[in-house]
Amino acid sequence: MKKTTLITFAVIALYAIALAVWQLYDPTSKLTQFIPGADNRPAGTARRADSVVIGEFFMRYDVAPSNAPSQGSWQAWTGFRGQGKDNICKNATPIQLAKGDFPVLWTIETGEGHAAPVIFDGKVYLLDYDEHVSSDALRCFSLITGEELWRRWYRVPMKRNHGFSRTIPAIHDGKVVSIGPEGHVMCCNAQTGDLLWTLDMKKRYGTEIPFWYTGQCPYITSQGELILAPAGKDVLLAGIDMKNGEELWTTPNTVAFKMSHSSVMPMVLGGQSTLVYAGVGGVCGVAADGNEKGKLLWSANKWQPSVLAPSPLQLSSSQIFLVAGYGAGGALLQVDRSGQQWTATIREQYKADKGLSSEQQTPILHDGMIITILPKDGGGMRERLSLYTPSDLHHAVWNSAADERFGLGPYIVIDKRLFAFKETGELYVYDILPRSLQLIRKQQIIPDGSDAWGPMAYANGMLLVRDAKHVSCVKIED
């Protein structure tokens, strides 16, 4: 055989072998497919994308015993606007402000939002939202060190809309209750974090969650009734037994209100304990005790802003101040009682630049003066601290200086001082005088703070403040 023929056959054979290998070899045979079911999760237990199991996950963190909150004489701030629902902390002895700058004891990062903390038994409770795992998370921290003690969370996918978290938990008889942005109510043991019961306002009451999510903070009566305002298809308000989550009473939603961002406020009007709720559609009063507990006593729909964040403020035994942002302004509601007959009348209403108003925070009534921060549509005094008297809602008796503008920041009265927090993270302290405030110091607490809208909480000389992504503990007392 010729040499060239031999080479030709050899080349053909080589190509044939290469072709056969190419066809027969499967380079993907060693690849692993990542498809659902690789974690041997039992059949039928797969999660739907929108399934919410309130409080299903729990994590406890190791904290050195020396850092764990111990038994002691702890003060408390147990809910929205504190125990007195007036946003005023009344200490037995006036606080002595720390000399020099207030030390910031700790700062924790949070999910983006405006939910504010409460304080109980040396612990801090915050309903956070963790974007990474798309979950509401009730987190418990040590007040002294800021170390996280436990968290209970549940998956609830949401889209960012001015952050996520909104509300302030409430604590009663060793139990902590939270309301999530999508209306999920969760009750846990405040000490251990054990899940006690849950309630989904959308599912149970057909609540339509408002744009910008649920802003309603839970209110618990001294008798241990959780008051909710689902303002759903059939139920306006509901009383829930804190012990087991069972429904004690409901108020039929005959007025067809919808849920607002406002919270239920307890008041005594005409000698009647009343739960006052400003919903989308109007404001109403529901009997809080007696044989008629849960009965709708009165309602008014003449003043009904489309967006409503501040809660009603009681001015007297028959007058309630209503306020809302986004152009709504303020209104004065007169509630009168004649025997079993109630009447509720809007005595006056005005735009934001015509008098006392507020966009997000609920004003404070302190020593006959109403303290507020005017909204951005409040004219030349916009975003400044202002004082009004209940008898004249149109003319401020005092306004803060031009550079003391607070945006949507919160404010709280501790003894005879007002602590106001700029939405950029700067704390201002004022002495409260008979008809004015006097600035005595200011301090940047959260560097480069932004959207600091969550209300403050105070206990044991420590003031908790937050911006959109942090919570800080400031030692204000010596």
């Binding site: 990542f34 039992p42 996950f57 994590m59 963790d130 979950s135």
Partner: protein, 181 residues
């Protein structure tokens, strides 16, 4: 020199050199004393910047994810296992945080899962560690796998580590393991 002889000499040198180098590495590893120092990551300082994956001189980094079972919460909804904002909680590739599939899990009981790390697949990117630390209790953490580490005089990762987490440690305590969250 003849071409055949030249090629044979080159081949011999290459093979012999490789054997000698390998022998040297093994000898160095075998002769480590208690007083010798090794490179290791301090989990308390690590910020999971991702440079461990790309800066190690090895083709696949000697840095691996370790898992402290006694710290883990065995959560179904694990921030180190799932990517952010996943739509479904299942093991489809688009939901996985680990780009190489190194984190695996098995169902224990509702709602708990046991997590394990396939070291061969792990490239030390630290994405899972970041996810676990930001939400969970930090049971996932990065360590230099000493069996893989070449023990360079100057660890290339340590030169670029932004938090100074890579340090010399004695052989006797070659790992900084987590026992608490």
């Amino acid at each position: 020199m003849e071409r055949r002889k030249f090629l044979a000499t080159c081949g011999t040198l290459l093979a012999g050199g490789s054997l000698a180098a390998m022998g040297s590495v093994l000898a160095v590893k075998a002769s480590r004393n208690e007083g010798d120092m090794m490179w290791q990551i301090d989990p308390e300082k690590c910020v999971q910047c991702g440079r461990c994956q790309t800066e190690c001189v090895l083709p696949v980094s000697a840095v691996k994810c370790f898992h402290a079972n006694q710290v883990c919460g065995y959560c179904d909804l694990c921030g180190g296992y799932y990517r952010a904002n996943v739509k479904e909680l299942n093991t489809a590739a688009e939901n996985m945080m680990c780009p190489t599939g190194a984190i695996q899990r098995k169902f224990v009981e509702e709602p708990y899962f046991e997590y394990t790390i396939d070291e061969e697949l792990c490239n030390g990117c630290g994405k899972c560690v970041k996810g676990c630390s930001s939400f969970g209790n930090g049971s996932l953490f990065l360590q230099i796998q000493q069996e893989r580490c070449l023990g360079c005089n100057e660890c290339k990762i340590s030169k670029v580590c932004v938090s100074g987490a890579i340090q010399r440690v004695p052989v006797g305590t070659a790992y900084k393991l987590k026992e608490h969250a």
